[in-house]
Each structure stands twice: as C-alpha cells, then as structure tokens.
C-alpha cells in the first residue's frame, strides 16, 4: 500500500518539475502582475531613452568589432574586408535610422515636458517657456530630482522583481545567492557603493535630460540656433547664439568674469555647477562626460575581467607550463609603462578610423583592458587555484566531465565573486587613468569637443584658488565620489561573499595596482 502512495506522490512531484517558469507564473499570476505592470510602466515612460542608449552602444560595438575584423582580414584578402565594410555600413545605417527614430519619441522626464530654459519678459518679469513659469533653477531642480528618484525607484523595482521570483516562482527554497544578497543588504558601506553606482549610471543614461542645457546646443554646435533672452540694456527680449552667450559667460577667475555654481549668467541661463573657462555649462559638460566615462570604463573592465577569468581558470586547471606561460605574459604586460603605451598607441592611431570610435574611447578601452587584466588575473588566480583543488572538481573529472564545462560550471561561480570585488576596485584606477589622459590633452584621451572629466579639471587648474574654483574642484569631487563608491561596492561584495574574511589589505593592493 505504501508502495502505491509513494509512487503517486512521486508522480505528483515529478510533474511539478516539468513546469516551466511560464506555467508556474500561470498557476499563480498575481505576484507576477503586481510586479510586472509597474515595471512595464516604468520602462515605457522612458523607453526612447533606453532604446537610444542601446542603439548607441550597438553602433559603437558594431563599428569596433567589424573594424577590428576588417583590419585582421584585410591582411589576407581585400575583397573579404570590403564585404565586411559594406556590411558595417549597412548595419550602422539601420542602427542610426532606428536611433534617430526613437530619439524623436517623447519621454516623461524630458526637457520638453519639464522645460527649464526660458527668458524673462521684463526685469523681474515672469518667465516665459519654463515649466509652469517657474524660475529655470527650480524647473531644472525639479526635473533632475524626478529623474534621480525615477532611476532609484526603477533600480529598486528590478531588485523587487528578483525578490518576487525568489518568493513565488523559484523551485529551490534557498540558493547560495540568497545569502550573498542578504549579507550585502545589511552592509551599509556596500549599499553606499551601490547607491553611488546607480547615481552615476543615471547620469550616463539620462545625462542629456539632466543637464540644464544640451551638449548639442551648448557645446557641440552652439552656432546653429538662437535662443531668446531678456536684454537688460535695451529692456527687450533679444536673440543670441548660445556660442556668443557662452563667450560672455566665461569663468576666468576674476570677479567680473565668473559664473559660479548655482547662479545665472547674463542670458538668464542657470548653471548648477557654474561655467567653464569658455563659458560652457559645467554641469552639462559633466553629464556628457559621465556617459563616455562609464561606457569606456565598463568596456575596459569587462574586457579585462573576461581575459582574467579565462586565464586564471586555465592557470588553475592546467597549471604547470600553461600557468607559467600566462604568468610570463602577464609580467610582460605589466612591465609596459601604461602611460607610454597610451601615448604611443594614441599617436599611431591618431588618424585611423579606430581612433574615432566612441570619440577615441574604444581604443582607450582596449588599451586599458589590455593593461588591467594581469592585475585581475593575479588577484583571481589564487581563488581559482583553490577551487581547482576542491574534491568536487576531482569528482567531476572522475565522472568524465569536459574541462571546458568543469571550468564554466564548477570553477567560474567561485571566482566570479572575487572577480567582481577586484574589478570594481580596479575600475577606479581606469576612471582616474581616463581622467588623467584627458587632463594631459594633446591628442590623448577622449577627443574634444566630446566632454571628458579630465579636461574640465585641466581647464580650471589655473583658477583653483580664485572665484572660479568650481571648474576643477567639482569634477574632481565627482571622480573621487565615483571611485570611492566603486571601492565601497567592492568591499561590500567581498564581505557578502565571505563574511568572515575581514582584512582589506588585498583590496587596497588591487586598487593601487589598478591605478593609472
């Protein structure tokens, strides 16, 4: 009798296993919809922004990858490389069309919905063209606050999605990830890191809506369209090119030539961070710089982490000669002075197409990835060697598992945590390195006029102790904040993976090693 019951129970349970995620949701749709409907709304209101970012990234990746392929294959067959170039043009054409199309679509937190640029109709008169006739500063502050609030909430909602999955739809009651997430959510310093990272990602994604003006209007082509302003001398509303307005709003370190933080210039334009030495809006400049900085450092650290992960697992799994070869290569790479390499490569590729992808950022990302992986590899090799000694690796070998699968399935989950820790700490070094290059200028770093943080610092270096202190100091503080945040995140992840291991000496080493 117990035979039959146990069998039917088993059949019962076996059926449960067949259930796909879809069926599990269909059986109990309420929690899913309670999460998914708001999520859809959240995405929908800013969909064109996300799509624009996605198309822009795809664009750069397509050009970068096909370009590299082209260069490699061009050595062998010119016909084939022509085909690749044609394909590149076609794909990029489609991407740009699509990008142009989504650009035209409305978003909720755009400068069209909450405009902050306007003009006064008379001295102390009401504002024309701003949101509800508010002063530009308030209109801008409202929009910026809404965007940050939206971004933070969206990030939280995505995390909520995982919680809903965990509580309602996941088959296992518990997985090791749960502990890590729980540890991290009790780690104040780590949470600060996550907060900072979200803040800067928001700047990268929503940068064009966050600035009081746009990079396009204020920096890249300031002589294409006039703006209205109230001319105090004539007492009338006049028109002026933003470029000309910039010329008269310079911050040059003296009392009469300075537009400081949180102030208006003579053209009724609000500057949250003040203006640059050439009269451009520093905040807009910083937002523009955030995007390129985040993209380049993400590409660089992603590439470095990928190489480091593969090599460290090879080192650990095969050891011996393979390990020695990688060790020698890594030492070779480390011995190249990074700055000299950057200068050299920048000079060599100065007029090459690859120097123009992402305004020079793609090339920088490749070089940073190339010079950073040995540090990550060194940091992760130890944990990889440790995992390779575990009995479950031997057990997997002993039932005939392929080396590739053993590395991916049984080793990678162990090193990915360490990889995240060291990667987030090394990213600080890359960001500082990028800023340093732009600071040096002269064909290094991101090519002007695309904003780059380091260039703002370099512009302001003559005025640090005068009224125009903001030009260098504010970008500098932003870099410090981001780098600190990334280190905090690294600390948080480390403590979350292994709550017992307290010492931070290794982490500091990695951060120092990653420093450019």
């Amino acid at each position: 009798m117990s035979e039959t019951t146990s069998k039917s129970i088993r059949e019962d349970l076996t059926q449960r296993d067949e259930l796909s995620l879809y069926t599990r949701i269909a059986n109990n749709p309420r929690p899913f919809f309670k999460w998914a409907v708001p999520m859809l709304v959240l995405i929908a209101v800013e969909f064109p922004t996300y799509a624009g970012v996605a198309f822009g990234m795809l664009d750069a990746v397509v050009i970068g990858v096909t370009g590299l392929l082209d260069a490699a294959i061009g050595l062998v067959s010119s016909g084939l490389s022509q085909t690749i170039r044609d394909a590149q043009y076609a794909v990029v054409g489609v991407l740009r069309d699509a990008g142009g199309f989504v650009d035209g679509l409305p978003t909720l937190f755009s400068r069209e919905v909450i405009p902050n640029q306007g003009y006064q109709t008379g001295p102390n008169g009401p504002w024309e063209g701003t949101f509800l006739g508010l002063e530009p500063a308030y209109a801008w502050a409202l929009r910026a606050t809404l965007i940050f609030a939206y971004a933070l909430f969206t990030a939280y909602w995505v995390f909520r999605g995982w919680l809903v999955y965990r509580d309602h739809y996941r088959e296992a009651d518990w997985t090791p990830t749960d502990d890590i997430v729980d540890n991290l959510s009790n780690h104040q310093w780590g949470k600060f890191g996550i907060f900072v990272l979200i803040l800067f990602l928001t700047m990268a994604v929503f940068g064009s809506a966050l600035g009081p003006t746009t990079v396009e209007q204020n920096i890249q082509s300031p002589y294409s369209e006039r703006i209205n302003y109230f001319n105090e001398d004539t007492g009338e509303v006049d028109q002026v090119f933003p470029g000309d307005a910039n010329f008269n709003s310079k911050s040059k370190g003296s009392a009469e030539f300075n537009v400081g933080p949180m102030s208006y210039d003579d053209y009724g334009r609000f500057h949250p961070f003040g203006t640059l030495t050439n009269g451009r809006d520093l905040f807009t400049f910083m937002m523009g710089g955030a995007r390129i900085t985040m993209i380049v450092s993400a590409l660089a650290i992603g590439g470095a982490a990928l190489i480091a992960a593969v090599f460290s697992m090879f080192s650990a799994y095969y050891s011996g000669r393979v390990d020695l070869t990688i060790l020698t290569t890594a030492d070779g790479v480390v011995s190249i002075p990074r700055l000299l390499l950057l200068i050299l490569v920048s000079a060599v590729f100065a007029n090459h197409w690859i120097g123009n992808v992402l305004n020079g950022g793609f090339l920088l990302a490749i070089i940073f990835a190339f010079t950073t992986w040995p540090f990550l590899w060194r940091a992760v090799r130890g944990p990889a060697l440790q995992v390779a000694q575990e009995e479950w690796i031997l057990a997997a070998k002993s039932y005939g598992q392929q080396p590739r699968t053993i590395m991916r399935k049984h080793m990678f989950p162990y090193i990915v945590g360490y990889l995240l820790v060291y990667a987030s700490m090394s990213t600080g070094g890359i960001i500082i390195g990028l800023a340093a290059l732009s600071f040096l200028g002269n064909g290094l770093g991101i090519s002007p006029p695309t904003p780059a943080w380091g260039r703002a610092i370099s512009m302001g270096q003559d005025y640090v102790s005068g009224p125009s202190w903001h030009i260098s100091l504010l970008p500098g503080l932003m870099i410090v904040l981001l780098v600190t945040g990334l280190n905090a995140l690294g600390d948080g992840i480390r403590d979350a993976i292994d709550p017992e291991a307290g010492g931070s000496a290794e982490g500091e080493e990695a951060a120092a090693g990653g420093g450019g």
Binding site: D17, E391, W392, L394, S398
Partner: protein, 360 residues
C-alpha cells in the same frame, strides 16, 4: 539493471577486472623526486572488494588517482607502469579517451562528502549532470533516474531532496548522494577513497552496508582505500597493506587478520582500538611514514621496525609467499621463515636483481 549480462561464465570469478603492474608514480619537485607509489602490483576481480590499507602518506590515494588518470603535474606515472582495466591499457590513453573510461567504466567516491558536491548546485543538478555526460539521459527521464538513484542509496523522500543543496544534507546523506552521483555513470568498478573517514561510526557502518548491497545488486568491483583496519575487516575480500609507496603484504582478509606476517601489518592490527589495546590510531607504532624520496634499496620500514636487523638497511625486501594454503605474500627479510638469515637475505637479493634485470 544490466549487471547480470557482463559476467562471462567461462571467466568466472577469477578474471581480474583491474590489473595493476609495477605502477610507479613520482612527483618531481625542485629539491627531490618523491616516489609516492613505488612499483606496486595488485589486481581486482569481478564482484570483489579489494582493500588498500595504510597510514596517511603511504601512497594509497595516489594509487587511486593514478588509476583514475587524475595525476597532475608535477606528478607523473613512470614508463613501465601498467594499469589494465577490462583488458585495456589505461596508461597509454589520451585525455579524451580517459574521460570516457572514467565515469562509464570507473567511478570514484572521495573522502570528504562535504567537498565532493559543489555547494552552488542542487544535488539533483549534479546527479543529472553525471547522467547526461555518461548516459545521455536528459530532461524528465533524468529526473526519474536521479530519483531512482537517490532511492537506491537509501535517501528517503528522494524526489524532494533532488532540489536541495548539499549543505541541506547531513554528512551521511551527502556521502550517499555522492555515491548516487557515481552510480549515475553505471560503472563496473568503483574506487572508494576513505569514503567513511569523515563520518561518525554509526553512519560509517550504514555506508559500508550500502556499498555491500550495491555491490551485490550491480556486481560492482570495489577498490576500497582506508587507514582503518576495522573498516577493512568489515568490507574487503582481499587486502593490500601499503607502506611508504610500496605494498608490504597481500592476503585474503581472514588470513591477514589471523596470520599477519609483516611487522608493519602486525603493528596496524595491534593498534585497532578496542581489541588489544585502548590506544587510538597508530600510536603503537612510533615515528611517521618516511617520505619515499630515495630509490628502494632497503626496507623503508626499518627505522620503525621492532625486528629490524643489519641487512634491513641494505637489502630491498621482495614479496615471498608466506602461507602454504593461501595467496599470502609479504615483503620482509624475515621470510621465508624456514631459511637461515643469510639464506633469506640472499634470496631477497637475487629476487631483487631478477626484477631490475627484467625492467631494463
């Protein structure tokens, strides 16, 4: 199960499934060469359990790994070694060929059940992984099969426990799960490397019973490695006693316990707790197993041997038969007992010379 089919009636019980001959595994370091396994020979017949017993450092785990082809650099199996599994010479296989022998032919259960299962995957996931690689079973069928296997190793509520993580299993249950994972490859031959050492005594007995049952059901051959004479007495049919990379005595299990010949075996048996002494472990033998970093031109047990005499330092003892009725050999200069000391030494010397000549 298909276990009944492969027993060849003409070969019967005497056909060895595994024959190890003159196996030498050495580890090369900057300073020295460690002969972790130094020229050992033994065989395992179908359906039989052969034990290898010795202290830690005696080379028993290296023996197991050599058979599995899991010796990593700086370790190397020396030329002249031979491991034959079902007639196939394993030492000549490529990595890919070895992979197909592992699992589907030979399975291995490791010492620490805590460590043999990857903590980030569910137990079911890992059993299914093994099923997929070795038998190509996937999907729902794999779930069924995995459930059957967990039931076969005596895990209650098997279906539900498939979705649990290793740390949710107790030590004994985890070792059962590891055994299930190895059975998933449907091996003919199972190597158990101290599978019960990390478990407490009652659980240990249960796992041993499980192995005996599985052996009967599936006609498994088992090579059982342990330092524990009590466990060996319980499970093995024949025993090899290992010391410092060499086998010093070979005998059927009852014969070994009834008439231990080698001084080392005697010391091991004396040290079984509870019977003759109250002492734990191997405290009755003073000193430790030496690192076998020199060629075997003497008896490696001599520094600890209560019966050592001068020749022990200069003459490498060879296996000589020590029983008329049984297949019982020992490598000690005290045997054969009916000869005088000088004759014994001479006999061993000439056997050793024959051996080295045979090698070259």
């Amino acid at each position: 199960m298909s276990s009944e089919t492969h027993a060849d009636p003409t070969a019967g019980d005497t056909e060895p499934i595994l024959t190890v001959e003159n196996l030498q595994t050495a580890f090369y370091t900057d300073r020295e060469t460690i002969r972790a396994v130094d020229s050992i020979s033994f065989d395992v017949k179908r359906g039989e359990t052969v034990g290898i017993v010795g202290e830690s450092g005696s080379g028993k785990s290296v023996t197991a790994r050599s058979i599995m082809g899991l010796i990593d650099s700086p370790g190397r199996i020396m030329p002249g070694s031979s491991i034959k599994f079902q007639g196939q010479e394993l030492t000549e296989l490529s990595d890919a060929e070895y992979r197909s022998v592992r699992g589907s032919g030979i399975g291995m259960v490791f010492q620490d059940p805590q460590q043999s299962l990857n903590p980030v995957y569910t137990v079911g996931n890992q059993i299914r992984e093994s099923l997929k690689i070795n038998r190509g079973i996937t999907g729902e069928e794999a779930v069924e099969e995995a459930t059957d296997l967990l039931e076969a190793v005596g895990i209650p509520d098997a279906k539900r426990r498939l979705d649990e993580y290793p740390h949710q299993f107790s030590g004994g249950m985890r070792q059962r799960a590891v055994i299930a994972m190895m059975l998933a490859c449907d091996p003919d031959f199972l190597i158990c490397d101290e599978p019960t050492t990390a478990l407490d005594v009652t659980i240990q007995a249960q796992i041993l019973d499980l192995l005996k049952d599985l052996q009967e059901e599936r006609n498994l051959s088992i090579l059982f490695i342990t330092h524990d004479m009590g466990v060996i007495a319980d499970i093995a049919d024949r025993v090899n006693v290992m010391y410092a990379g060499q086998i010093v005595e070979q005998a059927p299990v009852e014969e070994l316990f009834a008439n231990p010949k080698h001084p080392y075996t005697r010391a091991l048996i004396d040290s079984i707790p509870g019977e003759h002494s109250r002492k734990e472990g191997l405290e009755t033998i003073e000193g430790e197993v030496p690192t076998p970093n020199e060629p075997a031109d003497h008896c490696r047990f001599a520094p600890r041997c209560p019966k050592a005499f001068d020749a022990c330092e200069n003459v490498p003892p060879q296996h000589v038969s020590v029983s008329d009725e049984h297949d019982h050999t020992a490598a000690c200069l005290l045997y054969p007992e009916d000869l005088t000391e000088s004759h014994r030494v001479e006999k061993h010397l000439s056997l050793a010379n024959d051996d080295t000549e045979g090698d070259t």
